[in-house]
Structures are given as structure tokens and as C-alpha cells.
Symmetry: C2
Subunit: 241 residues, 2 copies
């Protein structure tokens, strides 16, 4: 499994992925699930979930096609983020058409993606590409999109995420959402890769990885659990019958 | 869908169920998913999830069999809670064997149950009966069991529930777990039925329902959300790259 989360705010984007790849409980590896494609006033970030051979094929061939002018697949020439998401969906369909019948006997060939970023002339945008290659866009009414193991990490976002947050506030909620997921599901694991993309900066410099030894990560988990426990303790007990 | 939660503590049991039954989005009803069977030093509580015809058949026939001496199905004569859980599993198998092939063309005939309570001579115990009719028991190492839509409500339990809690503390976490589930999933709904069973009391008097207009329920949700927001606000921002 995998957990990837994208948050779209007026302030920019927070794009985050875990690093665990597993086939059963005894074949576990760390992989990077975030791919950056940048050029001038263009930042395109792809987060991947699903069959690892499929996601790597999609991402690798798209990276190779960038700048070549390959019609329909060149992320450097996509005029909008909508077109970039369409390229990811089209490439996914191509790979699944090619590999599907060979992979089927062994498991699911499918994959899904979050595609976020900004292309000069547009505001930042965020899309979710389904296994079918079609896709939806985030908005101020649904400012976050998730792929992979999405349920455990959703309650804190539903409760606390608001469209007027700063990137740093959203980044804290993101890490708490990942912590909740990892506590409940072994198939999502460290390190966590997080990009805070500030609107109109066209910079991917604010990229951080959080691993087991990271002081901030450990402190965040401890302080949040202590704080939550204190909040619950202060709540009055339910009335008796 | 459904959400039922059972918590086993030295202090006793907290057993809770939602009330929504749905087949699609336009066939929604309220049903009670908690059944009490009591007699002398005997409190047996059954929480139900799954096909409503199946769960009602299981529970109704077990209620009717109670006190009749019907071999293998009389909850009034079960010598232990283990035997009571076995009776629920056996009755489930009987109903599925009888109805399965007729129901299959229309959907899943399956059901699962939480069976908690206390029979004189034993401490309180809690079991989860699977669709297959087999079952597992809660312990101090895994003090809670869930059936139905379990994922959204699990993180707060994984983070905050401890085996030394009072029933009231566990009851607060229970309601927050239900609130998280209902915010993220439309198929779980009010009212919430909750029994706090104090060990060795053999009393089911502390039964409360929480519905939309309940002051405690509304205040709990508001205070928790405010408290959580304050905790997150106080956390330091993630370090920059």
C-alpha cells in the first residue's frame, strides 16, 4: 500500500508521500513516490500509488519525454495543469493496455496518481488521476485529495483542514494524517517526503524528508498525543442514563 | 454500513452501535443494532453488522430460544461468554446455510457481531464473531473490537485508549470515534446507542442514546474540535528544507 496526500490552498500546495512498497509482509522496500518535473515557470509534481512497475513505467517514460516535443506526453509543453494531468492519464492507459494481460494472472496492474503544481499564467492546481486514466480536480470546497490507504488519515483532515490555512499549518495536519495512517496500517511507512510549494514561487526548494530519527517528527507525534489526551481528559463525561 | 465498537476494560465494558441501515443512498432507515439478553447474574449484549435480514433472524431466534433449554442456542444456559459467542456463531451459520443461495443473486447474506457481557463466575468478556461463524476474544493487549465501517474511527482509539481507563473515559473516546466515522462516511448515522456496563454489576441500567438534539453530544463535538485545533496551532511548524 501507499499513502499520498495533496492539499490545495490559496497559499500554494502541500504534496506528501510515504515510502513503503510491499508485496506481502516479507517483501518490503523503500521507494520514492514523488516525481518533480520543473522548467522555467513550470512545477509539476506527480505522486504515485498502485502497482510499482506500472507507476515507474508511467513516471520514467514521462520524464524521458519531457522536452522532446513528444505529442501528448511532453510535460514541458503542457499549456495547463489540466493538460499535464491528461498526459499522466494517457500514459497510464498506454502502459496498462500494454502490460495488463501479462500482469493480470499475478495481481492488479492498476495505479493512480496525484498531479499537482503550477504552470505560468495559472494558479496552482491539483488533480487525482484514477486507474481508468480519467481525473478530477481539487477546489476550495474539496481542498485535499488522497490516494492509497486513505481512510485512517482522513478524519483529522475532515475535522481541522480549512481553505484559509497557511502552508505550514497544512503541513502539520499532513504529518498528523500520515502518523494516524502509519499507526493503524503497516503497509504505509517512513520516510515521508513533503514538498511545500508556495504559489507563484516556481520553486521546489522547500522539500523535506521525515525519517525515524527526525527530531521534529518525533516531537510532533509526542506533543500531539499528549495534547489530544489532555483535551479528551478535560471533556465532561457522558451523562448517565 | 454500520459501526459498532466494544471496549473491554478491568472496569467493565463500553458497547456502542450506530443506527443507520441503508441499501443505496435512497433507502435509509433507523434500526437498533444492540440486543440485550439478561437473567440473574447474566448480561449478554449482541451488536450486529451486515445483512439486516440475517442479523435480525439471528438475534430474534436467539431471543426466542433464551430460557427454552434449546440445546446449543439457549443464551440463558450458556455457562460462559465463550459459549454464548459460540451460540451466536452457530446460529449465524444456520441462517446463512438456509438463506444464502436465495440471497446471493441480490447481495451479501453475511453478517458479523460483537458479543460482550458477563456471566456469574467470570469476569466481563468481549468477542467478535466473523461472517464465517468463528470468533476471537478481546484482551488487555487488544482491548477494543470493531465491526462495520471500522477505519475512520480507529486512529483515535489506537492513539488514546489505554487498558487502565475508566468507563467514562472510554465512553468519551467511543463517541469521538463515532463522530470521526460519521464525518467521513454517510452510511453510519445517529442515534448512537451506548451501554456502559460496570464489572460485576449485572445491570444494564446505564444505557444512553445520543441523537442530533442531544446537548452533550453537540458540546462534545464542538469542544473536541476546538481543543484539537488549539493543539495543532500550538505545535511548531515543520522545519524548512
Amino acid at each position: 500500500m501507499t499513502y499520498c496526500l495533496g492539499i490545495l490552498l490559496p497559499a500554494g500546495l502541500v504534496l506528501t508521500s510515504d515510502s513503503r512498497s510491499n508485496a506481502g509482509v516479507d517483501q518490503i522496500a523503500q521507494v520514492r513516490k514523488m516525481t518533480l518535473v520543473t522548467a522555467g515557470e513550470r512545477v509539476i509534481v506527480i505522486l504515485s500509488s498502485g502497482n510499482l512497475a506500472t507507476t515507474q513505467a508511467v513516471v520514467t517514460t514521462l520524464r524521458e519525454a519531457a522536452g522532446t516535443g513528444d505529442l501528448g506526453y511532453d510535460l514541458h509543453t503542457a499549456p495547463t495543469m489540466f493538460e499535464a494531468a491528461k498526459m499522466v492519464g494517457a500514459k497510464l492507459r498506454e502502459i496498462v493496455d500494454r502490460d495488463g494481460r501479462y500482469v493480470e494472472p499475478y495481481g492488479d496492474v492498476g495505479a493512480s496518481f496525484l498531479v499537482g503544481g503550477q504552470i505560468g499564467g495559472e494558479a496552482p492546481r491539483l488533480f487525482q488521476v484514477y486507474s481508468a486514466g480519467n481525473f478530477i480536480e481539487a477546489s476550495d470546497r474539496s481542498p485535499f485529495l488522497q490516494i492509497g490507504e486513505t481512510k485512517y488519515g482522513k478524519p483529522i483532515l475532515d475535522r481541522a483542514l480549512t481553505a484559509d490555512m497557511t502552508l505550514d499549518q497544512a503541513a502539520k495536519l499532513t504529518l498528523l494524517s500520515f502518523d494516524a495512517t502509519m499507526r493503524s496500517n503497516l503497509s504505509v511507512g517512513l520516510p515521508i517526503d513533503m514538498l511545500r510549494y508556495e504559489a507563484n514561487s516556481f520553486s521546489t526548494a522547500n522539500f523535506v524528508s521525515f525519517d525515524r530519527g527526525n527530531d521534529y517528527w518525533n516531537e510532533l507525534r509526542r506533543e500531539y498525543s499528549d495534547g489530544l489526551f489532555a483535551v479528551v481528559s478535560r471533556l465532561p463525561p457522558p451523562p448517565p442514563a
